[in-house]
């Protein structure tokens, strides 16, 4: 249950509480939440639809979490990614990493987001005043994922 792909919204505080329930060994919790912005690449965005590849998506996210756990000494991870149609200010993705110390929790959380952005099969389509358009992948996302390969 460390990974979920769902239409429903999520409650960040409740997810953190569930991950920490009964534990007294966690000293550091890093989280990342991605939200729908009302502007992207210079156009207004009034809705966004997230398509995914059922089955592969969950497997890719589990694999990213396993890589993070192999690489850093962390205690627990939760990843939730929404699909379907979302409005500005809606939550899209949540990553929570619990660890003993902050350096590892931060690094693993950022690593998971960077890999998710390039390895997990989700695609965004934005509705703008100029019509509907598929979001282009950013080169900056590739380079963000790439830097983890250099022993960082």
């Amino acid at each position: 249950m460390s990974v979920s792909v769902q239409q429903a919204d999520f409650d960040i505080g409740a997810e953190i509480d569930a991950l920490l329930a009964g534990r007294t060994d966690v000293g550091a919790v890093a989280t990342f939440t991605g939200l729908v912005r009302d502007v992207n690449d210079g156009s207004g965005v009034h809705a966004m639809t997230l398509e995914h590849y059922p089955g592969m998506t969950e497997a890719a996210l589990e694999d990213i979490v396993a890589q993070a756990k192999a690489r850093w000494d962390i205690l627990a991870v939760r990843v939730i990614h929404r699909v379907g149609t979302l409005q500005p200010a809606d939550r899209i993705v949540l990553v929570v990493v619990a660890g003993s110390h902050r350096g590892e929790a931060f690094a693993a959380c950022e690593f998971i987001m960077d890999y998710l952005k390039t390895q997990a099969p989700f695609w965004k389509r934005e509705d703008t005043p100029e019509g509907s358009r598929w979001v282009d992948a950013r080169e900056s996302d590739d380079s963000a994922a790439e830097r983890w390969k250099q022993g960082g």
Partner: protein, 84 residues
Amino acid sequence: MKIKVLYFAALREALGSPGETIELPESATTLAAVRALIAGRGGDWDKLAQMKNLRAAVNQRMAEPDAAVADGDEVAFFPPVTGG
């Protein structure tokens, strides 16, 4: 041999199809060969050849053009991912 092929996002729209089951000739044993075979039908299917930065998966794992494809596999073609 038979494989399942899936298309996602902008590619799915361009091809007008979410996917299909296709019969492969013995000679088509890689992702690149499957791509060429489908694009070779002409018409809209040529978009599969034209799409820049096309990504693919075999059995739900990201795969390179030289990845092996075997009977019963699930192959997917799609644009670079943009989640998060």
